[in-house]
Symmetry: C2
């Protein structure tokens, strides 16, 4: 059976502002200093998703995406949503499109903005997950072996066994710290990586079962795929689709899900402070990009998009200096950057977003 | 007897970088939001120094100074040192120049970069000091009644008396905290404001006595004042003058000095954190200049020379964003800004200084 990659790349990543902007979302940033996040996601999929890789992004991000995207991805594999309708619609769109144009196959569905250090372990886990998804015609997820009691990730509880592929018992929302500690010590929990491996036909079956309103629109869309009407129908049906996550709409309701626990050196790079997971720091724990002069400065992230930055006597700070706006944020408050974005939007400062 | 003001304005103020620059020293900055510091110093002197106000600055600062300086100061009252030679030379130059062109008089010698809130009290203190300097032909200083056990200022110990003008017993260097606390509680100490009131003829007598090498050059200069050779002689003699402060070279060696203790709401505005002494803060204790968006931000000084600044979750921070360089500094380390300036100079980044 064929194996395809589906990279979900429609997010805006406001917690990465002002590095990420409306016209340059997080997945298009080169955070590692090597390549854009989306291209790193594509490169990681290639050894397993040998039959093609698809990108699902939004129409508004088209220009920025095509300027950055790995040239080996054909333009017809770039699916552009007219409006954002969360992950169930995004995955359904990819599934119906691939089913109609390529036939059925295993789809490795992955976010575009994760960082994975251990690429060989990732390839092995994906291969095993794809094989399982095909043989059992089941939903298979990649679970990340937890390294600390994270409260910012969802967890997956699985049935103990000697097999490398485990049966999922439960999806668990982001826990509080006592629960997170319990999960960590139990040895029966992994972090939910947001990566799911399943056949296109199974995705559509599950959506038909649990999200019939969405399924109806997907069928309309599927009927138009390959015709002159495809573009018009896409514009018509997308706004009608319910906005719901695949986790909540499908996975939490499904039985017979499998998980492949893996040790990937993974992080979700959800906010600016997570840059430390993807870039090496100097002997003072600082990560600096551009011309910087840190004095008595420790464990800080200093990013200049142009002019020199001098710092004196600061710790655990994030500084992002863009030509049109400056952000100075404590690492502890990195999650709250989205509040600044909301405030700027409320004040009509669209040009800064 | 005539009374003149002499404003010493030759400093560079590297602890105010990057607000202050080589071409725009601290005394030319408008820190209060009202007028440049030097013009505020001039305005404070006017009610007492009725016979003229002189500025001593450096040749290299001429252009910036004249662009900013109060137009009521005649150009011939702006004395420009060819090279910097500390305060004894600066005051000696002003004394010989005024003596030769205007005749003897009381000189109120003051720094250009202090902030004084209680201007009426200042006028009273100056009047009393000028009267005393004339009647007793003595050196009179203005002492600031201490409001906290400052370790960053020099102190003056005086003889207890009921008179408003006290006899100085001792000049004391910047103390450690235990000593500063002792001085504060004794009621016999004031801060050294760096303001001295004495006759031009007395200044020259004291320099002749304690700094004969300097006196020799001043005599050469004095002989040329008013002649076609004045400019050339100034260029020739200045580099020969010893570089020594008037405090160390004259005052600490002199007897019969008086001090007028005064409650002036004074601060020396020596470093960026002292901006809080001269500008009102908002309800979070922040002082912001320009377009700023402070979120969970407290007791910080945020100055933008152009683009918007957003801050999240930071306290006690100083941010100065200039078009060509950005400084982020903890208030606690405000004194260390000069180290950054030294580092930039050492690295040949003259254009940023």
């Amino acid at each position: 059976m064929k194996v395809y990659g589906v990279v979900m790349a429609g997010g805006s990543g406001t917690r990465f502002w002002p590095l990420s902007r409306q016209f340059r979302p997080k997945q298009l940033l080169n955070l590692t200093g090597k390549d854009a996040m989306i291209n790193e996601a594509v490169a990681r999929l290639k050894p397993v998703a040998k039959d093609g890789i698809f990108i699902v992004s939004s129409k508004s991000q088209r220009e920025g995406l095509l300027a950055v995207l790995d040239e080996s991805i054909p333009k017809e594999n770039v699916l552009l949503e007219p409006v954002a309708r969360n992950t169930a619609a995004c995955i359904g769109y990819a599934a119906i499109k691939i089913l109609k144009t390529c036939g059925d196959g295993v789809l490795i569905v992955t976010p575009s903005d994760s960082y994975i250090k251990n690429t060989e372990a990732f390839t092995s886990a994906l291969s095993l997950a794809a094989k399982t998804a095909e043989e059992k015609d089941a939903i298979v997820t990649i679970g990340i072996k937890p390294t600390f009691p994270a409260t910012g990730y969802g967890y997956i509880r699985y049935e103990k066994s000697e097999e490398p592929v485990k049966r999922v018992l439960q999806f668990v929302e982001k826990p509080d710290l006592p629960h997170a500690k319990e999960y960590l010590s139990s040895g029966q929990f992994v972090w939910n990586s947001g990566m799911f491996i399943w056949k296109a036909s199974l995705i559509l079956k599950k959506i038909e079962l649990y999200l019939p309103d969405l399924y109806k629109e997907l069928v309309r869309l599927g009927d138009a795929v390959g015709t002159a009407e495809e573009g018009n129908v896409l514009e018509t049906v997308y706004p009608e689709m319910p906005s719901i996550s695949v986790d909540y709409g499908v996975l939490e309701k499904s039985d017979g899900i499998y998980v492949v626990p893996a040790d990937l050196g993974w992080s979700d790079v959800g906010s600016l402070d997570m840059i430390e997971a993807v870039r090496p720091s100097d002997s003072d724990g600082n990560i600096t990009v551009g011309e910087t002069y840190p004095l008595d400065t420790h464990h800080s992230i200093i990013y200049t998009g142009g002019k020199p930055i001098c710092t004196v006597g600061v710790d655990d700070l994030i500084i992002v200096d863009m030509p049109d706006v400056l952000l100075v944020c404590s690492k502890e408050h990195a999650q709250d950057v989205k509040k600044i974005v909301e405030e700027l939007r409320a004040k009509g400062k669209e040009e800064l977003l």
